[in-house]
């Protein structure tokens, strides 16, 4: 992990969070905003592997916790596990195809929504899962997937350019 990658990750996490809480709150559809932090976590995990995924997820979740969580560590835990599980698929799939990462982002957003529902609503005896499904989880997935189509290639291309630089500087020392 060099300084350039660290800086890139830091800026992207903050950027995603700020966009999610300000700009996309204005462009919301039916009060639902896309989950950019989840896109970033899943993308990093899918491109770089499980370890980067879980660390990215941890910090994304921590940021949400600081601002909007009731307990620090709650969202960090959820994001971290999503990052870790998606990262496990890094070795199985080929990264250049756009369809697979988007599908993974969709699945991870669904898992995120479902876990949130179970932990925050089902435990408080709110059983109407159909309502939450059609009004929050599914719209969030659709919107997130739409944004991910543009967001994922951006993350991928910046990642690739950093990779290239790393390889070049590694060659110098040989």
């Amino acid at each position: 992990m060099n300084i350039r990658r660290l800086l890139f990750n830091f800026i992207f996490i903050i950027l995603s969070f700020i966009l999610q809480t300000t700009v996309f709150r204005v462009f919301d559809f039916g009060g639902v905003t896309p989950n950019l932090l989840l896109i970033f976590t899943s993308s990093t995990a899918f491109i770089k592997g499980d370890k980067s995924g879980l660390v990215t997820g941890f910090f994304c979740g921590l940021l949400v916790d600081i601002f909007f969580g009731s307990y620090i560590g709650f969202f960090a835990l959820i994001y971290m596990y999503i990052g870790f599980i998606v990262g496990k698929l890094h070795e199985i799939f080929f990264t250049q195809n756009l369809a697979i990462p988007i599908l993974l982002i969709i699945i991870s957003d669904f898992v995120f929504g479902f876990v949130c529902y179970v932990l925050m609503f089902l435990f408080r005896t709110k059983f109407n899962i159909g309502y939450y499904m059609t009004n929050i989880i599914i719209p969030e997935i659709v919107y997130t997937a739409l944004v991910a189509i543009f967001y994922y290639p951006l993350i991928l291309s910046i990642n690739n350019s950093i990779d290239e630089r790393e390889q070049r500087s590694a060659k110098k020392f040989v």
Partner: protein, 288 residues
């Protein structure tokens, strides 16, 4: 050989499953710690104040400016028509105002008579702009651009459009987090203004999509409470100042126990289009 042990000539790396385990333990312990205490809020809140809040403020300011400018340009013709109409209305209102002036005089007389001390016009308050809203789609909380530097403290009440918005639940140096009364995890002790019956107002995600919040535990044997009645914050609430308008009753149903009633309230505040709020600087525990 264990993968954790450092070998000669190799960079030290921690396998991801160990890292996952360590971070999981950290997360669970912080959840437990923050569940019981508030040790972390100080340093983490200052971090947020340095890195995130300035950007949120900037973007919100620019966004509001752009929106205002486009609104201005598009509505000039509309404004001219409106101006005509308003001038006519002004005449009517002047007459009405004189009537009201007389009534107000009467009212102050009566208030003095009963020594009723003041509505919430008398509370000290400060305006604040909303700079960001909840990252998730589940709860309704938002961040305003004033914090402990401006004298804001936890549990202060927040109003807008003359109605209750929520209360401060977290404060940083130059920002504060507000939990709205429509959030699914929020509830307020309320009172029917006409009959002084107490009830519990609680936010509900399902109802709010249709523009309502719910109330419950209303004891009203005499059937005095009816649709359209004003609901205000009650005198017995320990966080909210008394007499702040919450909304108007829109439906009432009998509970299955036949003792209490529950139903829906139309909130007085438009939570969708809220940009500026007022924070009441007086707190319930300090007031009077």
């Amino acid at each position: 050989m264990s993968p954790v042990i450092k070998r000669r000539g190799e960079e030290f790396t921690l396998p991801s499953k160990y890292l996952l385990f360590i971070l999981t333990v950290i997360c669970i312990s912080t959840i437990i710690i923050t569940f019981n205490t508030s040790v972390f809020t100080g340093p983490l809140n200052s971090f947020a104040g340095v890195f995130v809040v300035p950007f949120q403020k900037g973007i919100t300011t620019v966004g509001t400016f752009l929106k205002d400018t486009t609104d201005k340009l598009s509505s000039i013709t509309q404004l001219l028509d409106e101006n005509e109409r308003l001038k006519a209305q002004l005449d009517e209102l002047t007459i009405e105002n004189t009537n009201l002036e007389q009534e107000k005089y009467e009212l102050t007389e009566l208030r003095n008579l009963y020594e009723l001390d003041a509505q919430y016009e008398d509370y000290q308050k400060t305006g604040a702009r909303i700079i960001s809203k909840d990252a998730g789609n589940w709860y309704h909380s938002f961040v305003i651009d004033k914090g402990s530097d401006d004298g804001i403290q936890i549990d202060m009440n927040v109003i807008a459009d003359g109605g209750l918005v929520g209360r401060i639940i977290d404060v940083g140096p130059d920002w504060a987090k507000v939990q709205a009364i429509i959030a699914d995890n929020a509830s307020v002790s309320g009172m029917v203004l006409s009959s002084s019956d107490n009830l519990i107002v609680s936010g509900d995600l399902e109802q709010y999509r249709q523009g309502y919040i719910t109330f419950s535990k209303l004891v009203d044997d005499a059937d005095k409470v009816s649709i359209g009645d004003k609901i205000v914050t009650s005198n017995i609430s320990d966080k909210y100042l008394p007499g702040i308008l919450i909304g108007y009753i829109s439906t009432i149903d009998d509970d299955s126990n036949n003792l209490t009633k529950s139903g829906k309230i139309t909130p007085a505040v438009d939570f969708e289009h809220m940009n500026v709020v007022l924070v009441l600087l007086d707190q319930k525990k300090n007031a009077h």
